[in-house]
């Protein structure tokens, strides 16, 4: 049974090409994914992210429950802070990557990937069972609309008032939007400045239209999932199911900094303590020769002559900003920036240059 976000009618009315994404009918583009990508880098883009899961953890031991369930150190998060973290299983494999927002001393919002919402919810409930904490899936109560790009702040502040301009990166605050209480977070998945706006589902379409009305003159356009993917790829951000899987530990994906030693322990701690001292994979950036993109699943071979398999492409696409084909790969030996490796692109041995991630950093 395909699910619809509160903004579904808007996408259809705009003529978006719709696809099934994690069981939701979502816009993949409205016209040209490349144009939408460029708009986010040069002006601003408007995203419907209502398919993502919003899980609320409340109670006197909410922080302790989250400390146990996830990698994060929730107990020392100030109210109004957001942190990127992961949920792991007992073997240290990644169940999901997510952002935790501390809304109050005893209230946290966890935003998980749409594809993992039900799993993360079930695990959170189970892991929080021994704590004085309640876990509620409030996904259906919200519409989540993101505005990302150099013009995002200017556009959003016209609707919220100027104080929101003081909200720093990875902070969250309550705001008044269209007469409703909402949350605004300075987080995103594009490498640009911007806000993610959590509003009651019933005003999702009104917010979307209000943003487009005020933002059109600045170049604000609706942006679908195809451009969302090329934007995050350029920004070197991992995508669950590609860079991150149950078979990867945080160490395999460049996320060792997320693994903390916590006095109360956490699910997966023992396995990760062992894994910390063992060989692990690394994620690398690649700029790929030729006209065919490297795609997930293509083999990465050693050196320019490439015969020995050293890893696999996890994501790849043409980069609109770089005007080159780019890819992220997970390899089992260290490589040097500037080194040449070979990618098996549908039977053709294709050279690729190792580069540092991210491929793109926004001008500061």
């Amino acid at each position: 049974m395909t699910r619809l976000t509160p903004l579904h009618e808007v996408h259809v009315a705009l003529g978006a090409r719709m696809i099934d994404f994690a069981g939701w009918d979502m816009p993949v583009w409205y016209g040209s994914a490349t144009d939408e990508h460029h708009a986010v880098r040069s002006a601003a883009g408007l995203f419907d992210l209502s398919h993502m899961a919003e899980l609320f953890v409340t109670g006197s031991e909410a922080a302790a429950a989250i400390d146990w369930a996830l990698l994060i150190e929730a107990s020392d998060m100030p109210v109004g802070r957001a942190r990127y973290s992961m949920m792991c299983n007992e073997a240290g494999g990644i169940i999901d990557d997510l952002i935790v927002y501390r809304l109050a001393d005893e209230e946290f919002m966890i935003v998980a990937n749409a594809s993992n919402g039900p799993t993360v919810f079930a695990e959170m409930q189970e892991r929080a069972a021994e704590f004085d904490a309640r876990v509620v899936d409030r996904t259906d109560e919200f519409a989540l609309v993101a505005v990302q790009g150099p013009k995002a702040e200017e556009i959003v502040l016209r609707l919220t008032g100027p104080e929101l301009g003081d909200l720093r990166y990875y902070r969250v605050a309550e705001v008044e939007l269209l007469g409703q209480t909402a949350y605004a977070a300075r987080t995103g998945y594009t490498g640009e400045d911007g806000f993610e706006l959590f509003v009651p589902a019933a005003v999702g379409t009104s917010l979307w239209k209000a943003l487009l009305d005020t933002g059109a003159e600045d170049g604000l356009v609706p942006v679908g999932l195809a451009a969302r993917d090329t934007l995050r790829l350029e920004a070197g951000m991992p995508l669950y199911g590609h860079e991150l899987t149950l078979e990867t530990t945080p160490f395999d994906v460049g996320s060792a900094r997320l693994v903390k030693s916590k006095p109360g322990g956490f699910v997966g701690a023992d396995a990760l303590a062992t894994a910390a001292d063992e060989p692990h994979d690394v994620l690398i950036g690649l700029i790929v020769d030729g006209r065919r993109p490297a795609r997930e699943g293509y083999a990465v071979l050693d050196g320019a002559g490439g015969e020995d398999r050293i890893g696999v492409v996890t994501s790849g696409a043409p980069s609109p900003t770089l005007d080159r084909n780019i890819a992220i790969a997970r390899v089992h030996r260290t490589v040097e920036t500037g080194e040449t490796v070979t990618i098996d692109v549908r039977g053709t041995a294709t050279p690729a240059e190792v580069v540092e991630l991210p491929f793109y950093r926004r001008p500061q």
Partner: protein, 124 residues
């Protein structure tokens, strides 16, 4: 509803077939809309023998790779070289300059859909 020229025949894999002095094969406007921006086209080689219903090439968009299926069995006698350097021509003019290849074929055409049949297929 995307363009479906009346005089062409169609397959369930969204190819069109024109019957002139030779048989010309392309993909439909519907297919192009589904694919998005096309970055690479791999065509069969002149002289290749192709079999109806089996893959004979690839079309790659920014998002994914799709296969080209031979709509009829026969021998490839010409391919649209323009698409090698300018794959976007396929998306711009799928029924004209974006043709894919030409076949010499003895196959019957009964296995193909007419414009109405194709329209019903994609409306379903």
């Amino acid at each position: 509803m995307s363009e479906i020229p009346e005089q062409l025949s169609y397959t369930a894999e969204h190819e069109w077939v024109a019957h002139d002095e030779v048989t010309i094969v392309g993909i439909t406007a519907y297919a192009v809309e589904e694919l998005g921006e096309i970055v690479f086209v791999e065509l069969p080689a002149v002289g290749d023998k192709v079999t109806a219903g089996t893959p004979c090439g690839e079309i790659e968009s920014t998002k994914a790779v799709s296969e080209i299926y031979a709509p009829m069995s026969g021998e490839v006698i010409e391919v649209n070289d323009v698409l090698e350097t300018s794959p976007e021509v396929l998306g711009d003019d799928p029924y004209g300059d974006g043709w894919l290849f030409k076949l010499r074929t003895d196959d019957e055409e009964y296995a193909l859909l007419d414009a109405d049949g194709y329209r019903r297929l994609i409306e379903a």
